[in-house]
């Protein structure tokens, strides 16, 4: 039945080439020996070596990593709770507002989210820096985690839980012993998604940052505005490698198909 027509093969091949070529070119040029980014000067790892001497950049990388780890973890807890509330609690007072606050941040232009959070931090007189970025990222990414976990809970066979409860298992224990292990893959992909979103974010971090908390995207952005440099190619290639490793690790833990499907597929309505 399923014969691949030339039109289908062509559109898929072209689409994928469009998606991947720029990234491949970037990685290749990060190994360019020449200082001029547009002239090929032979293979070299010199820009990677130079990164190690850039203490400001390393400091930024460390801050970014800490923010991403912390906010992804808190967001996973919050998002899972929210997903359980949305799927299992049926109608409760204020459900409309609640689901609105979950879904709106997913598509809300980042400049609006960033501006509003900054004004909150200013109004409540909080010193801006590491913690304000972490709170901002937690809020945004928790919504993504909610959608990922929610899609898992919707396809979930509740008879296993019912069996446990019928046999006298209390609700909390049923949750920990039956539900949690079953939705664990969704939690893992939700965490991964939250982690990469936080690692990646420029706009919200720019609004909510303060002295001493220059994240990697903020630093890269300020350098890119001045022009293309081989060092940036190198740092970008490292970030791509880190994320790719994370995806491969996640795919070994869960079924690869599910990782992708749960994350983006859930955000896009099925």
């Amino acid at each position: 039945m399923r014969k691949a027509s030339w039109f289908n093969i062509g559109s898929v091949a072209l689409g994928l080439a469009f998606l991947y070529l720029p990234i491949v070119i970037l990685v290749i040029y990060s190994f360019n020996g020449s200082r001029l980014v547009t002239v090929w000067g032979g293979w070299s790892t010199r820009w990677y070596a130079e990164l190690l001497n850039d203490s400001a950049l390393l400091e930024s990388a460390w801050v970014t990593l800490r923010i991403a780890l912390l906010s992804a973890t808190v967001a996973t807890v919050l998002g899972t709770l929210a997903a359980i509330a949305l799927v299992r609690f049926g109608r409760f007072r204020g459900r409309m507002l609640f689901s609105g606050m979950i879904y709106a941040p997913l598509v809300m232009p980042e400049v609006i989210t960033g501006l509003s959070l900054l004004l909150l931090f200013v109004a409540s007189d909080i010193d801006r820096g590491f913690w304000t970025i972490t709170f901002a990222h937690t809020t945004l990414t928790a919504c993504f985690v909610t959608v990922v976990v929610q899609s898992r809970l919707l396809t979930f066979d509740t008879s296993l839980e019912e069996a446990a409860m019928d046999l006298g298992c209390p609700p909390l224990r049923t949750f920990l012993a039956v539900t949690l292990p079953l939705i664990a893959p969704a939690l893992a992909s939700g965490w991964m998604l939250a982690f990469t979103l936080s690692l990646d974010d420029l706009v919200i971090a720019s609004f909510t940052t303060g002295p001493g908390a220059t994240t990697l995207p903020i630093r890269i952005y300020s350098q890119v505005r001045l022009g293309v440099k081989p060092e940036i190619n190198a740092i970008c290639s490292i970030m791509i490698a880190v994320v790719a490793t994370g995806i491969v690790a996640a795919s070994l833990l869960t079924k690869f198909h599910d990782v992708g499907r749960d994350s983006v597929g859930a955000v896009a309505v099925k």
Binding site: M1, R2, G10, L16, L19, I84, Y103, A142, P171
Partner: protein, 310 residues
């Protein structure tokens, strides 16, 4: 629903179950709803050379009189200012134009891609699906930066065009609308492909075969059967792309020209360069009002999805 874990049904909700709702609920109220109310309030204030740089500042200690003075200090001046200045109006129009055009482009490119994947042999589909999702995981900023590399004056694209003798003079790609469209289509393509793929994958192919058996040409079968059935996915993809593109900042800033700014850039400059927080807030509120209709459509879709209508 009654008797499920965590919920415990409507009738016997324990404090633990209440906490499950309450914790994320309060978090979102504090970090999502309250900030919006603050934005609305500040959009009605005036700029001041002070910390914070706007007046009036509400002082709870002043009591009722303080509140009255505070309310009296609010005004719609910033909105009048935005409406009167062509800069803001053209920014809004530019953003809507770019978002509409790039959503159309995304549909033109995304639909064949989604269709190709959905009609590929079953065993290839998971791999192809992952290949489309994967770029979404790599940094957004990095992907845009990759295009800066390619599109700059002596970048790879011009080198190839010159080598192939397609052009004699290297054309400028950066700081043009073309570059912005390339960047947007590149970044948002997965968001367009996935919902369309999801609907096409579920579609019953025998319907198209039936149409063909009855003598319907393939293009007519596509128009009358495939397209209407994939419409939910098309609408989802379009809304999912359109809303964030309107407020896009990074792509037009790095790839576009500084002549006509998109509204995200205007807001950014108003805030960071001019330090005019009240006007920036008013710009944000108006932007939000523009997005109310697509946001409502999106909300409706998500609610249906969450209701279990997969």
């Amino acid at each position: 629903m009654a008797g499920t874990v965590g919920g415990g049904g409507v009738q016997n909700r324990t404090w633990g179950a209440r906490l499950v709702v309450l914790v994320p609920y309060l978090w979102l109220i504090v970090f999502f709803l309250v900030p919006f109310l603050i934005v609305m309030k500040i959009s009605l204030s005036q700029t001041a050379i002070a910390q914070p740089p706007y007046t009036p500042v509400f002082d709870p200690a002043a009591g009722w009189e303080g509140l009255k003075a505070f309310v009296a200090g609010l005004s719609f001046e910033n909105y009048a200012f935005i409406a009167a200045d062509w800069l803001y109006l053209s920014s809004y129009l530019k953003s809507l134009e770019v978002a509409a055009c790039s959503t159309a482009l995304l549909l033109l490119i995304g639909f064949p891609l989604a269709y190709g994947i959905a009609r590929a042999p079953r065993r290839w589909q998971p791999a192809l699906f992952v290949l489309v999702v994967l770029p979404f995981w790599t940094s957004f900023l990095i992907r845009i930066y990759a295009w800066v590399n390619i599109l700059q004056r002596d970048g790879l694209l011009n080198q190839v065009l010159l080598a192939l003798r397609i052009v004699d003079e290297p054309p400028a790609w950066l700081s043009t609308d073309t570059a912005v469209y390339i960047g947007i289509v590149y970044s948002y393509l997965p968001f367009m492909v996935l919902p369309i793929y999801a609907t096409l994958e579920k579609m019953d192919e025998t319907l198209v075969e039936a149409a063909a058996d009855l003598g319907c040409p393939w293009w007519k079968a596509f128009w009358l059967v495939t397209l209407p059935l994939s419409l939910p996915g098309v609408v989802a993809g379009a809304v999912l792309c359109f809303i964030p593109i309107v407020g896009e900042f990074v792509i037009p800033d790095l790839l576009g020209s500084s002549q006509t700014m998109m509204i995200g850039q205007t807001l950014w400059t108003e805030f960071f360069a001019n330090r005019d927080w009240p006007v920036a807030s008013a710009v944000a509120v108006v932007l939000l009002c523009l997005l109310v209709v697509p946001l409502a459509v999106y909300q409706q879709m998500q609610a249906r999805y969450a209701g279990g209508g997969r």
